[in-house]
Symmetry: C2
Subunit: 337 residues, 2 copies
């Protein structure tokens, strides 16, 4: 139901289609989106073009993932009558907006973007930063502003991108003496938004293969939980165990609802006397209960449902972006004919 106070708030979220979605996405954004769509008009962008900026040599991975991501969406409860799901590259206006915004931000400013810095370190291609990679925050500003999104759910690491987008908005409105572009606010997902990988390393990540996917079978889930990193010093059941850095407890924190019961378990584990197999079994029950209905719904999704969702979504998103581009061109003064 639309809250009248929120009638002007528009939410934009999305994913890079580079594989199936996993529990990290679920807890970090999908669950939140299912709630947000009850309150706001939501646009969900499948960012194929953005994914190309660091997968340009493997576009197949992107195009093959789009349908899978859509099935994940429908499976968790994204409702196409409430959320507009669309493919980035199907909205040509985004490219043109990007081009105008590129004149309003310096290379130096883009090089200071910490996300770019981090990804640079992680991917070790410092000498081969492509123009596309450097400029993707500008393209993201186009995504946000094209739909006049005022609320953008992000992880903390993406806050600098919202800042860049707002800098561009302010600069545009000032240079062209207009108010057509709208600043956006980040909605920070909770502290669980960076679900740790099952190997205990960094966050659960499609490319690191250390995640439990929404499409994983019951057996695979069980196996992945069995393989989870716990506490290497916790050798015997009677040994005191570490809860910090213990992946099983991190997942229980994220998914086990009875927090009192969880605190008791943690106390027992720390004291000694609680075996890994018991907590893993509890986590398995918890995740199977969460994921079984999602997987079943996912398997029931038809190609037609996905096709309809995308074609309706692209049409609707395209209409909004077209209108914004008209306003942007009018503001710049690029009116011909």
């Amino acid at each position: 139901m639309m809250n009248s106070n929120n009638s002007k708030q528009i939410v934009l979220t999305g994913d890079r289609p580079t594989g199936h979605l996993h529990l990290g996405h679920y807890v970090g954004s999908l669950k939140n989106r299912v709630e947000l769509q009850e309150e706001y008009p939501c646009l969900i962008m499948i960012a194929d073009t953005q994914a190309l900026s660091d997968h340009f040599d493997n576009p197949r991975k992107i195009t093959d993932s789009i349908g899978e991501v859509c099935r994940d969406y429908l499976a968790v409860g994204i409702d196409p009558s409430k959320s507009t799901v669309f493919i980035q590259s199907m909205i040509p206006e985004l490219f043109e907006l990007t081009s105008y915004y590129m004149n309003l931000i310096s290379v130096a400013r883009l090089e200071r973007n910490p996300t770019v810095k981090t990804e640079l370190q992680q991917k070790s291609f410092a000498d081969a930063i492509t123009a596309g990679f450097l400029c993707y925050p500008v393209s993201q500003a186009a995504d946000i502003t094209a739909f006049k999104a005022s609320l953008v759910p992000v992880g903390e690491d993406q806050l600098p991108l919202i800042e860049i987008s707002n800098e561009i908005v302010r600069r545009f409105n000032r240079v062209y003496n207009t108010e057509v572009l709208v600043e956006s606010k980040a909605i920070l997902s909770g502290k669980c938004n960076r679900l740790v990988g099952i190997d205990g390393k960094a966050k659960a990540c499609k490319s690191l293969g250390n995640a439990i996917f929404l499409s994983d079978s019951s057996e695979v889930i069980k196996q992945k939980i069995n393989d989870m990193y716990t506490d290497p010093t916790h050798l015997k059941v009677s040994d005191p165990g570490n809860v910090e850095g213990n992946v099983v407890f991190a997942y229980l924190d994220a998914f086990f609802e009875d927090k009192d019961e969880l605190e008791k378990l943690k106390t027992r584990y720390k004291k000694g006397g609680l075996g890994d197999s018991v907590v893993k079994s509890l986590l398995n029950d918890t995740l199977q209960a969460l994921l079984t209905p999602i997987r079943e719904k996912r398997e029931a999704v038809t190609k037609e449902e996905v096709g309809d969702m995308l074609s309706d979504g692209c049409k609707k998103a395209g209409g909004i972006a077209k209108q914004t581009l008209i306003e942007v061109r009018d503001s710049i003064g690029l009116r011909y004919n």
Copy 2:
């Protein structure tokens, strides 16, 4: 008439619409285009978007210039039945191509582009290089390849841009295992392509205001010739004079047809005994003879002629670019329904 050997050659040229065109354009490119259009299909792009990259805060200058540039074209003999004249920002496919190409070139490579370096020095905004300015060679690669242009008339200073474009073409064709993009060759204009400014400084340049415009009245032309920098040591008619660095002789070199007669004049001038007023008067006769019919034709150009030329040109250019974009997306694999 189309030469059958040239049937696959396509020429792309163009101008940034930042003012009226002048004699530097005439001798450096317009005259050449009038000849090229007899032999090749020619596309002439009015690069409003590119001009925005360093005039983003003065778009009015750009939009106001488009009609003037078109009148200059028609006045010198650009024939809309042979040359396709179009506005860059009216071809949205160019923005999308730019986006894909930005993934295929490094920031470091773009920073090595000497044109960028030079313009940086000239405009002294080293600390505020915008992303748009850095990336304009990528946008130019989109312009060239969208129309599969194989011949691009340029000045020597623009050769590095053709190189960047060809690097992108080769990279694209290799990465996506295709041959859809076509490498281009520069057609270097003659040695006169950098006509000196009437003040003797650098080249004639719209922004420096040191040029004789195709639209200048007879009186203005005469006045500008009178003001021309000659040889500051040539005080009396009987003094020996310098021909090198003498703007009047530079313009006679470019526009006075009887080269034997010109050599004789130079000899006399160097020896002493030939006054500036005599050579200026000769230059005035020469330029009035050249520019009077151009100005008269220019004044007769109607709004409708300009409108028809642009609307036909944009339609035709748009059709070609759309087809190329389909091929490019197909090559990347971005085929959705």
